[in-house]
Symmetry: C2
Subunit: 291 residues, 2 copies
């Protein structure tokens, strides 16, 4: 049967603008640190994992950039704020500590934080659409103030005041925003919505959805802790396309490809190119051996 | 068969808050004028028909309050601005003329005008949802400025700028607002929505819809030029209930009621109680004669 397995890789698979910027900043910091010949092995830290991809974290560790959750860690000289941003009070404490702060917050998340602050100043009751446990949302919540309401797609809105402002976790689907503003307008007199959904997520979802019409199987590559990668897998399942969510090529099993003629590869915003290439190569090898 | 025809009158049929206020203001002005024994027969005018109900207009005429479209009419001493409001420039000209101006603009419409002005000052591209030819919408447009976009329920939104503000003709249905903000959020980054829909319209529509489940025929009473009355008739038709839109009891025909056991009466916001009572009486007479 030979090369009967056709492979399509999504054009938008992998690093988005904000992740690329953050990872570049982290590797630059590592590089700068090693050039300075700093005596301490681990003076550069990221506050939490810089992005939701364990393989990138490991690579950074090997170059001397460690994740930490302890902002009082005495070894810290330089601290990198990850793509998801941090709570306002943590940002303030990092400055007070006198660290060199490298802010790798995604510029789109930064904007959402500013909008949260603005809505608060303008006296709106604030609703954030997103996952309460996600670091990006925790950051947004801190700017929105203590009365903030957080809703996830399955939730219903509580009873709202008359002036309500909405912001959205950047990786949420547009339909969820639509659902909630439709619900809100039934209750409120004034609605201010900052559509802070990142285009890149929507376009990646759209491309993946289009791909599913054309393939027998989808391989979704990315951190198991990456929400947007998980979302891509859920999308495939929702249109009844078999899909496997993997972090690296080593997880791939040959039996997945029996009776498969065409396979699509997509990847989350935090998946580096080298992992996607490995996955593609591994599938090509399987296809080359005949199925 | 005797009294086999059951009649239900909608609780919310007839004058809404704004219309009642306007009509009261007009009759007060008429009354004040006749007490003063003013030499001129027609010194009190309404700018256009004060509400969309020909019978009320006739009654006011008989008490010396005439509608006029000519603001330069030399007989005018007192001018009444109707419920729908007027364009900003006309409001200014009336003041310059030195007339006594009685502003009977519905307070909810007035608020919508202020929101249009605010959105303009805040630099939003403004979309008004409503009927471009309706005096209320013409008034709102004047406050929103020359770049305003007006869309009616069948329309699609044009390509929008990144910051868009919405206001709504007070008598529009909520679903139309929902449709347009859902469409808008696909295109724009910031959306500010003043839900200026008047509750009274929505509640009247809801009550009428509920009534249709329970009756064989609907009689909708109100000016043929009244948009919200017409909307009530359309609602009945949309749920396949036979409905007649009449202005007065004299239009009722006995044959409408053959095979009808239960009839519902509803009326637009500009329909006076005395017309609704006449209609009810006339139908009761028909029912009393047996069908």
């Amino acid at each position: 049967m030979g090369n009967s397995l056709e492979i399509i890789v999504a054009k938008r698979a992998g690093f988005c603008f904000g992740v690329k910027r953050a990872v570049d900043l982290a590797f630059d910091a590592a590089n700068k640190n090693s050039q300075k010949g700093d005596v301490r092995c681990c003076s550069v830290y990221t506050l939490g994992p810089i992005i939701h991809n364990p393989q990138v974290i490991e690579k950074l560790k090997s170059e001397g950039v460690e994740p930490t959750d302890d902002i009082d860690n005495p070894n810290i000289k330089t601290i990198i704020i990850r793509t998801h941003g941090v709570q306002q009070e943590i940002s303030e404490r990092l400055s007070q500590k006198g660290y060199e702060v490298i802010d790798a917050t995604c510029p789109f998340v930064k904007k959402a934080q500013q909008y949260a602050k603005l809505l608060k100043e303008e006296g709106y009751q604030i609703v954030i659409i997103g996952d309460k446990g996600h670091p990006e949302v925790k950051g947004l919540m801190s700017y929105a103030g203590k009365d903030v309401i957080v809703v996830n797609k399955e939730d219903s809105l509580p009873s709202l005041k008359s002036r309500v402002g909405f912001i959205v976790q950047t990786t949420q689907p547009l339909d969820v925003l639509k659902k909630f503003i439709s619900e809100a307008v039934e209750q409120v007199k004034e609605l201010k919505v900052f559509n802070t959904i990142c285009n890149s997520t929507a376009l990646r979802l759209k491309e993946t959805k289009d791909m599913t019409k054309d393939v027998d199987l989808m391989i979704v590559v990315g951190g198991k802790n990456s929400a947007n990668t998980t979302q891509l897998t859920q999308l495939c399942n929702s249109v009844s396309i078999p899909a496997y969510h993997i972090e690296t090529a080593s997880e791939i099993r040959e039996e997945w490809f029996s009776n498969v003629k065409k396979v699509g590869i997509t990847a989350g915003a935090s998946t580096p190119d080298w992992i996607i290439s490995d996955v593609e190569k591994r599938i090509r090898d399987i296809g080359g051996r005949g199925l």
